[in-house]
């Protein structure tokens, strides 16, 4: 095994992990602010994938270009879901929230299955089989674009929460909902906005993922679980933690698959999860509650 081969595998895992991390960011944003665990996360992501596939089929739009449109649709869906349904459960016991979101997940999953069927659908962008080669180092174009797209979206999201007035207001809600209400912030509106932003980020992740993975309804529960693992590894509610968790899972899966056994890839995510829970229960970048 050469160093170049190992570097290729690490780079591949890193790029895949960035997209995983972007997907988990949406989950982390919603949980960090609204304190509701979105069990329909994977379903929303697969809906985003199908959105990109449909736009590619109808208008020939590259998923990188259609991602904002997909994000807009999912923003509206997330916003309306929070306003119309989830908001009524924010103050209720957690098990009620879980059942509600699981119900929504089941409905969305079966709708996707009814509308699109079980066959996988992909996008045949012109560069689908292209590879970037620099000496012994090579990486496929779609994975590279998806990874770079994930970095760009994450950077915009971080900047929004750090520098914009709305972003600061959302953070205030997350830190101290009562205090935020006292100073006159519209908590319900900000919760709906946050849910919409979380859904939009998931939609973008879904659109970017179509460059690497074919869309299938049955992917949804897998991605919900994977995002949970990433968010717990990175730290619940931590945005950089979600991205770091994604990269860690992506790289460790790739290395375990190559150095140990490919069938151990998924298992290795759980190994990372257990190790993190044992050594740092709040997650790598999470705060101790």
């Amino acid at each position: 095994m050469t160093l170049a081969l190992l570097l290729n595998i690490v780079a591949s895992g890193l790029l895949t992990g960035l997209v995983y991390g972007l997907a988990a960011l949406g989950l982390s944003v919603i949980f960090g602010v609204v304190r509701v665990v979105n069990f329909a996360h994977g379903e929303m992501m697969v809906a985003g994938m199908y959105g990109a596939v449909l736009l590619f089929g109808a208008l020939g739009l590259d998923p990188i270009l259609s991602a904002p449109l997909v994000a807009a649709v999912l923003f509206v869906f997330g916003w309306a879901l929070q306003r119309g349904l989830v908001n009524k459960f924010v103050e209720r016991p957690e098990h009620m929230q879980f059942i509600l979101l699981l119900g929504i997940a089941t409905i969305v999953l079966n709708l996707l299955l009814m509308v699109f069927g079980p066959d996988s659908r992909g996008v045949m962008v012109p560069y689908v089989f292209d590879v970037f080669e620099i000496g012994p180092f090579h990486q496929d174009a779609t994975r590279t674009y998806a990874g770079l797209g994930a970095i760009a979206v994450a950077a915009v999201l971080f900047a929004f929460f750090r520098f914009s007035r709305t972003g600061k207001a959302i953070r205030a809600c997350a830190d101290n909902p009562l205090g935020a209400r006292v100073v006159g912030l519209n908590i319900d509106g900000l919760y709906a906005l946050t849910f919409g932003i979380g859904a939009a980020v998931v939609g973008i992740a879904g659109a970017l993922l179509t460059l690497v993975v074919e869309a299938r309804p049955q992917l949804a529960p897998e991605y919900t679980l994977l995002s949970f693992i990433i968010v717990i590894v990175g730290g619940l509610g931590s945005l950089p933690g979600a991205l770091l968790g994604g990269v860690l899972i992506g790289v460790s899966e790739a290395l375990a698959g190559f150095l140990l056994m490919p069938s151990l890839k998924a298992l290795f995510s759980y190994v990372v999860l257990i190790v993190v829970l044992l050594l740092r229960p709040q997650g790598l970048l999470g705060r101790r509650s």
Binding site: M1, L5, N8, I9, S12, T16, L113, G117, P118, D119, S120, G122, M124, V128, F129, V131, H138, D140, R143, V212, V213, E214, R216, P217, Q218, L219, E222, E253, A254, G257, F258, M261, P262, S263, K265, A266
Partner: protein
């Protein structure tokens, strides 16, 4: 003194007894099974959702067109469908439910693990199970009296598949020196691996297997697996796939510029599925699958193809034919036994199934019969190569539609 109901001639006592009998029948008994004029209730168990949904839905099409096609041939069947959600546990509970709902026979369940779960229930309840697609050898080795399989075992698939590989090398004059085996680590994939390990040394194959790479059947990315396979430097890729992993695997081969002499499956689905043709186009051409295949000239095939076209006018029959054919044949086997048995009761049905000798069918090869274990041991395989994104028989020569191409052209040379 008894009060008589003058209009229907029943005493109150008789009416009460009838009510009790009807109640007891509803509560504890099964509906009586009448053959004359009644339809056979067939519980079709398939993974219509979950990670095997694509194949399960393709099989379901066979079940959906079966009542009309078989009705024209004088068989009366009623289909009760159930979804296993690609899970053996769900398969077990759905089998129970189908039987409780009145199914006289179970047909299914595409996957060996789920079929094994269904077989246990059928054996306990004494209900016949006719497998449509499931290859693990153990399914007919448990001593069960109620299982019947009109599908090759993994051993048969691999034996026939390897023999056809030798024929392929002979016909094209090109022989690889080494091969790598890529397979999912589910029941089917592992059964094929076990059969390959056991049979390979005995069959005097002209190449060595340098590595076996198992992967999670739910994997979303096979880049590492293909990197690993490429790194072995093997001349030939032997694969056991289903559609989703076949697509990912070939895509990665193209991206990683790995050009083995050929991609050959010793009897798994995936490489010839409609979904694979749509996703990969020219890149899946020249891939080969050695498996039982339908006889395009058979009368039943033509009936089924016409019914398929009528019901699914936008889809090509060839891309679904394998799953449709085996599912429809399994239903036909049950319907034929029912017709001969004259009853849907368990014992006569089992007896009739054991005596099956069905000549009018879809798949190539001799009549469908079952040995003492319930296995059809007469299933033959053909070498099916993708040509112009269509599964095409290239061997044996007497059934060939085209000559085989091996080694396959490089990725950049395809038009």
């Amino acid at each position: 003194m008894t009060t008589r109901f003058p209009r229907i001639g029943l005493t109150r006592r008789q009416l009460g007894q009838a009510a009790v009998a009807a109640g007891a029948l509803t509560a504890f008994g099964k509906a009586p099974v009448f053959a004359q004029g009644a339809a056979l209730k067939i519980g079709v168990l398939l993974p219509r959702s979950g990670h095997l949904a694509q194949a399960g839905q393709a099989c379901q099409r066979g079940a959906d067109i079966a009542p009309a096609v078989l009705g024209d041939l004088g068989y009366k069947v009623e289909i009760l469908s159930a979804d296993t959600e690609s899970s053996p546990d769900v398969a077990r509970s759905r089998t129970e439910k189908l039987i409780n709902d009145g199914a006289n026979v179970i047909v299914g369940a595409f996957d060996s693990g789920q079929t094994a779960a269904a077989a246990q229930v059928c054996e306990q309840r004494g209900i016949p199970l006719v497998m449509n697609i499931a290859a693990a050898d153990g399914l007919t080795e448990q001593g069960y009296k109620t299982v019947f399989r009109n599908f090759p075992t993994s051993t048969m698939l691999v034996t026939n598949g390897l023999a056809l590989m030798k024929d392929l090398f002979k016909a094209t004059g090109a022989t690889p020196k080494s091969a790598v085996f890529l397979h999912a680590n589910d029941t089917f994939g592992m059964a094929n691996k076990k059969a390959l390990d056991a049979l390979f040394p005995k069959l005097d194959m002209p190449f060595q297997i340098v590595d076996s790479i198992a992967y999670d059947p739910k994997a979303q990315d096979l880049s590492i697996e293909v990197t690993k396979a490429k790194a072995t430097g093997a001349d030939l890729a032997i694969v056991t796939t289903r559609a989703a992993d076949a697509i990912m695997m070939v895509k990665e081969m193209v991206k990683q510029r790995w050009e083995p002499m050929g991609i050959v499956s010793p009897g798994s689905p995936g490489l010839y599925d409609e979904q694979t043709y749509k996703a990969l186009g020219k890149y899946v051409d020249f891939a080969i699958t050695n498996l039982p295949w339908y006889d395009p000239k058979a009368e039943l095939t033509q009936r089924v193809a016409a019914a398929f076209k009528k019901q699914y006018p936008n889809d090509r029959f060839e891309g679904y034919a394998f799953n449709v054919a085996f599912t429809l044949e399994a239903i036909l086997v049950a319907a034929d036994a029912f017709k001969r048995a004259g009853s849907a009761a368990s014992e006569p049905m089992l007896q009739a199934l054991r005596q099956t000798n069905l000549k009018d069918k879809m798949m190539v090869g001799p009549a469908i019969t079952f040995d003492a274990k319930g296995q059809n041991v007469n299933l033959a395989s053909a070498c099916v190569q993708n040509r112009n994104q269509r599964p095409t028989v290239v061997l044996p020569k007497e059934s060939a539609e085209m000559d085989p191409v091996f080694p396959m052209p490089g990725w950049a040379k395809r038009t």
